[in-house]
């Protein structure tokens, strides 16, 4: 008797256990060591002794029995062979984020505590780039395929030539939104207001002249503050702070897209171009200490290449224990936050586990072709 996982199920062993990802639904199931051993044997094509564990997996529609070993064509977005050539891959700029100014006139709790979508206060004495520089940057990025622009700051409305930049963008066939830091004096908690300016969506709030507004607030925000914004008719979206602990409760669903994205690179950074208020290309505002170069001094394609090589195509392993963690694909960790300090799943550095090869992600022979 043999047991096989369905092709949409990915089994990984890691530190002190394993996980079974259902890439079709995004759900995942943690596994004990003994369960991992049983599943490893099954995945290697060995005959099994039936037990409740296999029966449960069958009931959950994660696998099936057969009387002979058979081939399972694992679910894949693209063949591993298709990833050999970077010049064939499709790099697409999903969004270009322009930090028009680092100046901000709002100071509140969590201002320094990062959450996405981003604004970030910079050196208030630094001079902003003139609009003509931004026009050139916009031309370069839209020629490179960017069709969506987000203007941010500091407080982007403090940028003197804001209207000129907006007019310039409107002439291009792109969508534009802005991000504004907001503070309700009665509740000193920073929120961020994301406003889609054009093209106009069909949603319209009566109380605001803009057509599509979302307010992002930290999920730890004071409920009264949230009520204040809701009362004004805004759509509220709570988000995690960059300092939030990573626990099993914060793990996110892992669909095929997420799995492929995390396996092959940085799912969060991929597709996003950030230009800071000095004209540097940076991986994101949280990673503004790692510029890849200045758009004012070097050609875009060189910087773009560096960005992809250094960040987009590099899997996120903020800490060495992440290489052995079976929750990697569902982990919301960001490469620029202190994941080691935030991790509550494996808070200790378990060196003896890291050194043990049978706990590496590459152990499972069946999956070895999925990991380069």
């Amino acid at each position: 008797m043999y047991f096989h996982l369905y092709n949409h199920c990915i089994f990984l062993t890691g530190i002190a256990g394993g996980v079974l990802y259902d890439l079709s639904s995004g759900e995942f199931t943690g596994l004990e060591k003994q369960e991992c051993s049983w599943l490893e044997a099954a995945e290697k094509g060995e005959a099994i002794q039936d037990n409740d564990f296999y029966r449960e997996l069958e009931k959950m529609q994660l696998g099936f029995y057969s009387d002979k070993p058979c081939y399972i064509d694992k679910l894949r977005e693209s063949s591993p062979l298709l990833q050999v050539h970077r010049d064939l891959k499709s790099y697409k700029i999903q969004i270009a984020v322009l930090q028009l100014t680092g100046r901000c006139d709002i100071e509140g709790d969590n201002c320094r505590d990062y959450f996405c979508p981003p604004c970030r206060q910079g050196d208030s004495s630094a001079k902003d780039l003139p609009a003509e520089r931004w026009f050139s940057i916009i031309d370069t990025l839209s020629d490179a395929g960017a069709s969506s622009f987000l203007l941010t700051g500091g407080n982007v409305l403090l940028y003197k030539e804001f209207d000129a930049v907006l007019r310039y963008l409107k002439k291009k066939d792109v969508s534009v939104s802005i991000l504004l830091p907001r503070l309700d004096p009665a509740h000193p908690q920073l929120f961020r207001e994301h406003i889609l300016l054009f093209p106009c969506s069909s949603r319209q709030t009566e109380k605001k002249k803009y057509h599509d507004v979302t307010v992002y607030c930290p999920e730890t925000a004071d409920p009264q503050a949230i009520e204040h914004w809701k009362h004004n008719g805004y759509r509220i979206l709570p988000v995690q702070l960059s300092s939030a602990p990573i626990s099993e409760a914060s793990l996110v669903p892992c669909t095929l897209e997420r799995y492929e994205g995390r396996k092959n690179g940085d799912l969060c950074l991929s597709g996003k171009i950030y230009v800071d208020c000095s004209g540097n290309l940076i991986p994101c505002l949280q990673g503004n200490q790692h510029p890849v170069g200045s758009l004012l001094q070097e050609p875009f394609y060189l910087l773009y290449r560096r960005l992809i090589e250094a960040f987009w195509d590099v899997p996120v392993r903020p800490h060495k224990k992440c290489s052995s963690c079976q929750w990697y694909y569902s982990c919301p960790s960001c490469r620029f936050t202190d994941a080691a300090a935030r991790c509550r799943i494996y808070p200790e550095e378990r060196e003896e586990v890291l050194l043990s090869p049978e706990h590496s992600l590459e152990h499972c022979a069946f999956l070895s072709r999925l990991h380069t």
Partner: protein, 459 residues
């Protein structure tokens, strides 16, 4: 359901589901991420074609430096066996023409580089025999390095090897050319077909050129051979020759059967003997794959002979169609991804298609309207594809479908392709039942090496 079943020697039955491109054990079929071929393809518009090509096109430029050739290979596209291609001529490309072509290609390359910064410009020199117009080759390279010095250019030349004198070898290696020598095996195998006008063979000069290159530039890593087979080819002798001389085969294919009576010269016994040899070598390949003993160097002929089978198995598109909707059902490339510029500056889809399907010229660049027209014509005759159960494996290209004036479906293509796909899926699945990772590593190595030498798309 758009699917078919097949069974392996082990007794397992599988279903291939063309809606999403996956293989399932019988009884476990899923339709998730399904995207079947639509009944009618939307019309390709020039603007869409242009948008696509300005992102993914201009991958390779092939310059036909001359139509002159110092050989008269029996199976040559420009010989008597092929009616719809040009004949041998003495025309050569002028530098003024090459310059216009280069300016057009490199300008677009720079645009595309901003979208994919890893893109290289790939410029290939072909003929006739390209080294007859060696002066043009040098002028082209010099021009590129002067005017487009900021661009990463990958050069290759496909040559019969007869004119690979030492100074030319030195120049090509100094400029990191991919050098592909047409060599059909050992002396008897090569000289059977690759002859001069007087009927004498060309093996000695071609092979000596390779030996001299290795002696003058030991370890030069961008050298490969291109091999043509027919039913008199001795595969065992070829295998031994390639392995013994550590030759890397970048291209191995049968003499093209399209629109030719070339194959009438062979007897049924010739054909049987050939396929017996092929079958034996195939068994050897699968056995070596299961044992994990396939490598680039130990299996010099097996990989080019059989890796296309695994490529087909592993690289067929899966899940939702990611390509633009106007793309052909088949895996045909879009004209403009590759550009073959003939001696007079006319652009063609590739070096294999007849000259009746131009896609632009050096003066005006690519003609997106014309390209859209070809795509629509190609899609219109492939109207049966919506019912086909192997759309994701189909590799019919425009060159195969082109005759004198029109694109049409070759008569036995669909039947032969379906049989081939089923056979390939069965063979590979049988092997993968025992060893799921048997083919990935060495197939990837072979494709990488081949693309590194030739500069062309890996598949």
């Amino acid at each position: 359901m758009k699917s078919f079943t097949f069974s392996t020697a082990r007794g397992n039955t599988y279903v291939y589901n063309d809606k999403n491109g996956f293989i399932f054990p019988a009884g476990q079929v899923r339709d998730y991420h399904a995207c079947p071929a639509p009944e009618k393809k939307p019309e390709a518009l020039p603007g869409q074609v242009q948008d696509y090509l300005l992102t993914k096109g201009y991958y390779q430029l092939i310059l036909e430096t001359t139509q002159r050739c110092n050989l008269r290979c029996r199976y040559c596209y420009y010989g008597d066996y092929y009616k719809s291609t040009r004949n041998h001529s003495s025309d050569s490309m002028k530098f003024s023409t090459a310059r216009k072509v280069l300016d057009d290609y490199m300008t677009h390359y720079r645009t595309i580089r901003n979208k994919n910064p890893f893109r290289k410009a790939n410029i290939s020199f072909q003929g006739g025999e390209p080294l007859i117009n060696y002066g043009l080759l040098k002028e082209t390279v010099n021009y590129c390095s002067q005017i487009y010095g900021d661009c990463e250019v990958n050069y290759t030349v496909t040559t019969n090897g007869v004119l690979l004198y030492d100074d030319i070898l030195d120049y090509l290696t100094d400029h990191n050319f991919g050098i592909i020598v047409s060599l059909d095996g050992d002396k008897p195998g090569h000289d059977r077909n690759r002859i001069r006008e007087d009927g004498s063979g060309s093996f000695d000069q071609a092979f000596q050129a390779i030996e001299r290159l290795r002696k003058r530039h030991p370890g030069y890593h961008r050298l490969g051979i291109s091999v043509r087979l027919d039913y008199l080819s001795d595969l065992d002798a070829l295998d031994a020759f390639v392995t013994e001389n550590k030759l890397f085969v970048t291209d191995l294919s049968m003499v093209s059967p399209g629109e030719t009576d070339y194959y009438r010269q062979f007897s049924p016994e010739d054909k049987l003997r050939f396929y017996r040899q092929l079958s034996r070598l195939r068994e050897q390949y699968f056995q070596a794959a299961k044992e994990g003993s396939v490598s680039l160097h130990r299996c010099s002929l097996l990989l080019p002979l059989f890796s296309s089978g695994y490529e087909m198995f592993a690289c067929h598109p899966v899940m939702q169609e990611m390509r633009p909707s106007f793309f052909p059902y088949t895996g045909s490339c879009i004209p403009g991804e590759k550009i073959f510029a003939s001696v007079d500056g006319t652009y063609h889809m590739c070096e294999k298609i007849s000259s009746h399907f131009p896609i632009g010229d050096a003066e005006h660049g690519l003609d997106y309207r014309k390209i859209a027209g070809y795509i629509n014509q190609f899609n219109s005759f492939a109207g049966r594809c919506s019912d086909c159960r192997i759309t994701r494996f189909c590799s019919l290209c425009m060159a195969q479908a082109a005759d004198h004036t029109a694109l049409s479906l070759p008569s036995a293509y669909c039947r032969d392709k379906k049989a081939c796909v089923k056979d390939t899926l069965t063979l590979y699945t049988e092997c993968l039942e025992e060893s799921p990772c048997a083919f990935d590593r060495f197939t990837r190595e072979y494709l990488e090496e081949r693309s590194r030498i030739t500069g062309s798309l890996p598949y």
